[in-house]
Symmetry: D2
Subunit: 139 residues, 4 copies
């Protein structure tokens, strides 16, 4: 895990009448986490789509430990948890300071625009090798 996470400010829009961030927002923040992780790996997600590669979500899970509140500066820590020929799993932790607010994962397929599963290694050896290298180098 890198020492510093991706920072997100909780918006008024994100709150609900319980006075905390609404639970579906965490999945949106997960998206920010994987986008920024891929960017740091030199693989901006827009590059995937330019190569006719899409990563729709197959499964999403989140555990809520402590509520995030309006104007909190939260930090996202994202890892590639699993990398297979046709699937990719990211895991996430969301913290406020040293406190863990939530954690979860998303599992993604590799598909083309027509919706067909693709074997990333064959479809784009370049993206595959980058992803594999980044995955292996994770602490």
């Amino acid at each position: 895990m890198k020492s510093e996470g991706d920072k997100i400010r909780v918006r008024y829009k994100d709150t609900d009448q319980m006075g905390v961030a609404y639970y579906a927002n965490y999945l949106v923040w997960f998206e920010v986490g994987r986008t920024e992780l891929l960017r740091r790996m030199g693989l901006p997600y827009s590059e995937f789509e330019k190569n006719d590669l899409y990563l729709p979500v197959l499964k999403a899970y989140c555990e809520y430990r402590q509520p995030a509140r309006y104007d909190d500066q939260i930090e996202l820590f994202t890892r590639i948890e699993n990398l297979q020929d046709v699937r990719l799993t990211f895991s996430y932790k969301i913290r406020r300071g040293s406190k863990l607010l939530a954690e979860g994962y998303t599992e993604h397929a590799f598909i083309n625009q027509a919706g067909k599963p693709v074997v990333l290694r064959k479809k784009s050896p370049f993206l595959w090798n980058r992803l594999l290298k980044a995955y292996d180098e994770q602490v």
Copy 2:
């Protein structure tokens, strides 16, 4: 104005920590209003896109009179306010019972997928005539 509007239930998701519906949601509800109006006219918006016709928003305005709250059943009343060769304006009122909660309008262009403005009358006389007829028949 038709006697009964399109009904929407305010979701917990729509609320914010002030305990009322967050202001950007009204524009989403406006979208529901124009979608349902077009459907009643026999012109579902998906038909527009199948004919390479898109209606991006050029301007949006909303006045907020009374807050909508969680679980409120609100009603949308939508009209075509103006119809021109290359533009279309919808107006909206959102009510809870007899009380006016908000009103506003959205102005739209007719464009194709490439983003070029199109003259609806030429591009699709069928859609244009339907729209014009519906516009003229509004009370």
Copy 3:
């Protein structure tokens, strides 16, 4: 499972540039499902909050089988999966016609506004008994 689910129309707002409903929306639809289930049980969620009872989400899970698309009329089928002194689990299926689009669950705590866990059976025997009865009567 009841023969007919709660109907939701997929909004343009719900779509993303992949042309399908963005994955976090399913959690919002789950909220609609449990809200409507509680209402049918004669227990509108607003009644819970009036009794200083809140049901924050502890865990949320969703599996995505087939994408929901713009203007789809989808149906939600919601059940109480588990009911305990301090916890409640709902399960959900989202269908379009006979096709299963997604399924998942949410686990909730019973807390008061101060954020303390409460034993529903003690805090509000009325709500507890209603919930228990509805739970037992589920097919």
Copy 4:
């Protein structure tokens, strides 16, 4: 206008099937703009609410010039356009590089939690004077 705006990254969540940012998101970005402007003035909005002061939106307007797209880094430029005893208007410009994407304004009331209008100058001379000073010092 300050030389550098508040930066926002367009999320996948913000896009719709037209491949651009959905129009209601601009009002959410406006919220970020005014939040950050108030913070720079030393008046974080959370301070308002701690003083039983709320700024609900009375009117919102947005003109859309050029679409914002996925992963765009956009910049927000926010000003206090008008400051009165019981009202406050912010204006916004959203740019991508030198290109203007959208502009608009929001008008807000000063109210207390009970929903009653308050004269900010009387309710909180401290907040009023800060706001007035910041307003006067704007270029």
